[in-house]
């Protein structure tokens, strides 16, 4: 009795779980940075969120009688990204509801991994954002070096100062306000790059995120077109509208969004041309929302908006098949 299958009879090493777990590894620096800057509560949020995501995936999988695919790690990624998109002070039920919404409704109801139209983590973030707007927009300043000693203690309470995110300051007070907050321009860039500024726990440290993104790009898990066109569009619009491009690149969730969420396979277009258009669209909507919108931040919305457009883009931007005249 030989085994019978269709060709090819050999396979590259690629597998879904390998991709997903590499992705999780790439998120680790940002996770470490979140704990470094926001203390153990950040870790608790992440653990709670991931646990909810995994349990929800398991339960919905059982209910819908699907093959349980926990080992592929996609639920872990969703859980982590949901937590990354929250301020450190949110009550614990927020990541629970968010992860549940993301996995159960945005992912599993659409058919599970590979079939979802919207990025579960982003949809979850936007959902909880509108559900508990005050909680989701209360920002804490990162811990100082001395405050970090509290990491050891479990009785960490939220007694740090509430402030506004750099983007909110820029919106309300302009560049001058930012300079008084950070001191000098170079100091501001440095703080933003390292992540020493208020914001969602996973999005502040550009350094940690870029480390992870570098891993993903090197292992060819994500490709250049989307992040590059996204960031380039943001820079271009900044230059045209007279805003500081470096500030806009480093602040808010732009790096996290461009490298880790806009590049989500399932919800982004498949052809290079489509990817570039997708990135440009993300950049455009992000900047419109940042400069004109009512909320200071626009990355999640813009990517979600382009997710909705992705099927249209896929439909009209196909690769030219060799030998077929168009």
């Amino acid at each position: 009795m030989y085994r019978l299958s269709v060709s090819p009879h050999i396979h590259s090493k690629a597998s879904v779980s390998r991709i997903m777990w590499t992705f999780i590894v790439a998120l680790m620096p940002a996770m470490a940075a979140s704990i470094w800057f926001f203390g153990p509560r950040a870790l608790y949020l992440e653990i709670i969120s991931v646990a909810t995501a995994v349990i929800t995936e398991l339960l919905t999988g059982l209910l819908l009688k699907k093959r349980i695919t926990l080992s592929d790690g996609s639920a872990v990624i969703t859980g982590l990204l949901v937590a990354f998109n929250m301020p450190v002070s949110v009550p614990y039920y927020v990541p629970i509801v968010g992860s549940f919404f993301g996995i159960a409704i945005v992912k599993q109801l659409f058919g599970g991994l590979g079939y979802n139209i919207f990025n579960p983590a982003l949809a979850a973030r936007v959902f909880v954002m509108f559900a508990w707007l005050p909680e989701m927009t209360t920002w804490n300043a990162p811990l100082t070096t001395s405050g970090f000693s509290k990491l050891a203690g479990f009785n960490f309470s939220i007694d740090t100062i509430t402030t506004a995110t750099p983007l909110a300051i820029a919106k309300m007070k302009g560049m001058a306000g930012l300079l008084t907050e950070f001191g000098s321009k170079m100091g501001m860039y440095k703080d933003l790059f390292l992540g020493k500024c208020p914001g969602c726990i996973g999005e502040t440290s550009a350094l940690a995120l870029l480390l992870g993104a570098g891993l993903l790009l090197l292992t060819k898990i994500i490709r250049w077109p989307i992040p590059l066109s996204y960031l380039a569009t943001v820079v271009l619009i900044c230059l045209l509208s007279g805003n500081d491009p470096i500030f806009h690149l480093l602040s808010g969730g732009l790096i996290l969004g461009a490298f880790f969420m806009a590049t989500d396979y399932v919800t982004s277009p498949m052809t290079p041309k489509g990817m570039i258009l997708f990135g440009v669209g993300c950049g455009l909507v992000t900047m419109v929302l940042r400069l004109k919108g009512g909320l200071p931040e626009g990355v999640s919305f813009s990517i979600l908006f382009m997710n909705a457009l992705a099927p249209l883009i896929d439909r009209y931007f196909k690769n030219p098949v060799l030998g077929v005249k168009t």
Partner: protein, 439 residues
């Protein structure tokens, strides 16, 4: 480097780099395979109509005797590869489909020991074509296109170039390489014959860079020939595909649904060229070919000159297998067909027989494919620039008709998409089914 002056070419769109495994058999010279006790000769080893059986049960046949008569324009003669008695003329399962086959039991003696050698230069084009036709030569790269038909393109197509395909891009296979190394002069003579038939000026011989010795050998041999050029090619699968080779060497694009002669090119495989020479010089029909037998569980891996019709069971007996066999593949691992029985015969287009161990075989289990995650790795790997992801999803949903909208017919079934797919989806399977069911 000695080839540094040359421009290394390759095709641009897609392609993959599977592990080569050529080391197993690369240095194995061609060995004559012992005469089998029984052969099963399918009457259709080519594209087109099955040949008409000329023998019936109980007939005695001699070696090289015509047993299947070409039926119509696209068809080919079939000859007996051993002398003996026709045991049966029956539908047999060959490469997973049923084909009328002649089963011959070895009996009697080989009479045709030495064939008379002709000179080919004085022969007319028509005479050469006739000899190719009566020898039943078909493309030996796998597709099995009747060579005489290929070499007589319609008069309105002007052919300016002959491409000789020495790429052998499939992993494991080294039969063409060994042929190139050991029969260099004969192949050059064969190229000249084909060149004369086609009346073309330029010939390119494409060889991938993992066969540096062969490139050097031909380079040295061809210094005096001004019109035959050796073209070293970057290693990339599926460069041996006709359309990819034309694109790589000539930068010409065969139109969708077209054939190479639509862009003035004829592509011929090394083994075919060699067989053409034998047919023209000795009037010897195509009854044997060089086959790579390889696999980690094979004791005597190597390149064997095997008679057409020899069954896999005879091959197993000869080369020795240790451990249980998981999979038997006729052809290369990327496009080869997996057979279920040891009664499957070697055919004119069989370039390799691979034996996979149980573990190797089980590592590919397409019944446990996962949903497509739209990673677009297959789009990058596809040498035709198709959207294999969509094809696979439509196939999964059994929307065969809709697959046509995604250029199903242009798929060359090279397997690059399945090879890179992280969800391990049997994309080629769905494409094959789509082609069969959407018609």
């Amino acid at each position: 480097m000695w080839y540094s002056g040359l421009k290394i070419k390759t095709f641009r769109t897609g392609g993959v780099h599977p592990h080569e495994y050529k080391g197993l058999t690369e240095e194995c010279s061609i060995i004559n395979f012992p005469v089998p006790q029984k052969v099963i000769i399918p009457l259709s080893q080519h594209i087109g109509k099955t040949a008409k059986a000329l023998v019936k049960k109980g007939d005695m046949v001699s070696e090289y005797q015509l047993i299947g008569q070409k039926d119509g324009k696209i068809s080919a003669n079939v000859h007996s590869s051993i002398p003996g008695k026709v045991v049966d003329v029956v539908m047999a399962c060959i490469l997973n489909y049923q084909v009328l086959s002649v089963v011959i039991q070895l009996e009697g003696e080989f009479k045709t020991g030495n064939l008379k050698k002709d000179e080919w230069e004085p022969l007319k084009k028509e005479e050469i074509l006739k000899r190719i036709e009566s020898a039943g030569i078909v493309g030996m790269g796998g597709a099995g296109f009747p060579t005489d038909f290929k070499l007589s393109p319609p008069p309105d197509k002007k052919i300016d170039t002959l491409l000789v395909n020495g790429v052998e891009c499939e992993p494991y296979l080294t039969s063409d390489y060994r042929l190139m190394m050991e029969k260099t002069d004969e192949i050059v003579e064969g190229i000249k014959i084909v060149k004369k038939v086609l009346g073309v000026r330029t010939v390119f011989l494409g060889i991938e860079l993992n066969k540096k010795k062969a490139i050097k050998k031909f380079k040295d041999r061809l210094t005096s020939e001004s019109n035959i050029h050796v073209v070293p090619l970057k290693v990339k699968y599926p460069q041996g595909g006709e359309k990819q080779l034309i694109k790589a060497i000539l930068k010409r694009q065969v139109p969708s649904g077209g054939l190479p002669f639509d862009v003035g090119v004829i592509v011929s495989n090394i083994a075919t060229v060699y067989a053409v020479r034998e047919a023209v010089l000795f009037q010897k029909p195509l009854t044997e070919r060089v086959v790579t037998v390889a696999g980690t569980i094979v004791e005597k891996c190597g390149n064997y000159k095997i008679r057409v019709g020899t069954t896999v069971s005879e091959v197993i007996k000869e080369v020795g297998i240790h451990g249980p066999i998981g999979k038997v593949i006729m052809g290369g691992p990327m496009m080869g067909i997996n057979v279920s029985t040891v009664e499957a015969p070697v055919m004119k287009g069989t370039s390799g027989i691979l034996f996979f161990s149980e573990k190797e075989a089980r590592s590919i289990d397409y019944s446990f494919y996962k949903p497509c995650i739209h990673c677009s790795k297959c789009l990058e790997a596809c040498p035709v620039n198709l959207n294999p992801s969509m094809l696979s999803i439509l196939g999964e949903m059994e929307k065969w008709e809709d697959m046509k909208g995604y250029h199903l017919q242009d798929c060359i079934e090279c397997g690059c998409c399945s090879f890179v797919c992280p969800s391990r989806r049997p994309i080629v399977g769905w494409v094959k089914a789509g082609k069969a069911l959407s018609a």
